[in-house]
């Protein structure tokens, strides 16, 4: 009996059906747990859902590599979903046109710094090139960051972990820092939440006010696109020079 069960899980291990079933089920469980916990800022629902999948894989003795191969079918939808982000970006047109000057001056600098601080600190602490590449897109929203990591040659799971920690850190740090600096403008607080804390920070900004949320979406979209264009260029520089 146990031998047959073993054979069954072995044959199901790389099955897209099982991987997709586990992912969707865990996602719904994660959302429910997150709501029941009172929507804590320090614990994004996708982390709870991922933990549920990890436990299921461990219980069924399925390799993560096999699971990822099966679930890759689901990730194919990330392509059109990333293109779809053009819709909310275009809907921010009013804010972008109204504030083009401060945005044009601050966004490239702030988005570059969000990546550069991490790259610099990791390098100073002796990180390997793979680790540095994985941390560079840490403030970019996940679907766009996945596209970046393919170009830079980093590790997808490490990048995802970095994204989660960054989102939570930015969410916890932005409001206390703003208070200390005497900033009450929800446009600035929202923008900083989205620019640094991507989707996780944007959720927090919508809790503050609709206005903070709108500016967080703006900061997140612009940072994502800008960084997706900047990092691959920077990473290809050494090759171009020699």
């Amino acid at each position: 009996m146990s031998e047959r069960l073993h054979l069954l899980t072995a044959s199901l291990a790389g099955s897209p059906a099982l991987a997709i079933f586990l992912t969707v089920a865990a996602y719904l469980i994660g959302i429910r747990l997150f709501t029941r916990l009172g929507r804590p800022a320090w614990c994004p629902p996708v982390l709870v859902a991922a933990l549920v999948v990890a436990i299921a894989l461990w219980a069924l003795a399925i390799d993560y590599a096999d699971y990822r191969q099966g679930a890759g079918w689901l990730m194919l939808l990330l392509g059109p979903a990333t293109v779809a982000l053009g819709v909310p970006l275009y809907q921010q047109k009013r804010h972008i046109l109204g504030l083009w000057k401060p945005l044009l001056l601050s966004l490239p600098v702030a988005a570059t710094l969000a990546s550069a601080y991490a790259v610099l600190i990791a390098w100073l602490l002796g990180a390997t090139p793979v680790v540095i590449a994985s941390l560079a897109p840490k403030s970019v929203t996940a679907p766009i960051a996945i596209g970046i990591i393919d170009q830079l040659g980093g590790s997808l799971p490490l990048m995802m972990g970095g994204l989660l920690v960054t989102g939570v850190m930015a969410t916890l740090a932005t409001e206390p820092l703003a208070r200390r600096m005497g900033i009450q403008d929800h446009r600035i607080i929202g923008f900083a939440l989205g620019l640094n804390g991507h989707a996780i920070g944007t959720v927090r900004a919508f809790d503050l006010s609709p206005r903070a949320g709108a500016f967080a979406s703006l900061g997140m979209s612009l940072t994502g696109v800008f960084t997706a264009l900047l990092l691959p260029l920077v990473w290809s520089l050494p090759r171009l020079i020699g």
Binding site: Y67, L85, Y90, I144, D150, S155, P157, T166, R187, A228
Partner: protein, 127 residues
């Protein structure tokens, strides 16, 4: 059928992104290139295409689930990056604190004062 028509548009722009990346040797991902092309298309036509908007909403709502296979990997990399965790932790925590402070400082210097009317409207919505 609006969603399906919109999905076809999105796949079309993704395809355009792939073609542009291949022909012009762009170092960008096809998805981001398609995103930029779609935004330029909206700007050129001066409005949102309602089919694309209808298809985008559910897809964006599912983004968190679509990235999950990557997030699950977080629980399986402890050994792979042994000896690197100080660098990772330092870059993520200190780096994020510095970048949040930099953004706030920059925006405080550059943002014009908020329009009073819009501000009071906000206050009414969030008592």
């Amino acid at each position: 059928m609006a969603e399906l028509r919109g999905f076809l548009w999105l796949m079309g722009f993704l395809l355009l992104g792939e073609i542009a990346v291949a022909l012009l040797y762009l170092p960008f991902s096809a998805g981001v290139t398609g995103l930029v092309l779609l935004t330029l298309f909206f700007i050129a036509s001066g409005q949102l295409n309602s089919d694309i908007a209808a298809a985008s909403q559910p897809l964006i709502g599912l983004l968190a689930m679509l990235i999950m296979p990557g997030v699950v990997g977080v629980f399986f990399i402890a050994d792979q990056f042994a000896g690197q965790w100080l660098a990772v932790g330092g870059a993520l925590t200190l780096g994020t604190l510095l970048s949040v402070a930099s953004t706030l400082w920059l925006m405080r210097r550059l943002m014009p004062a908020p329009a009073p009317a819009a501000d009071s409207a906000d206050r009414q919505r969030t008592p």
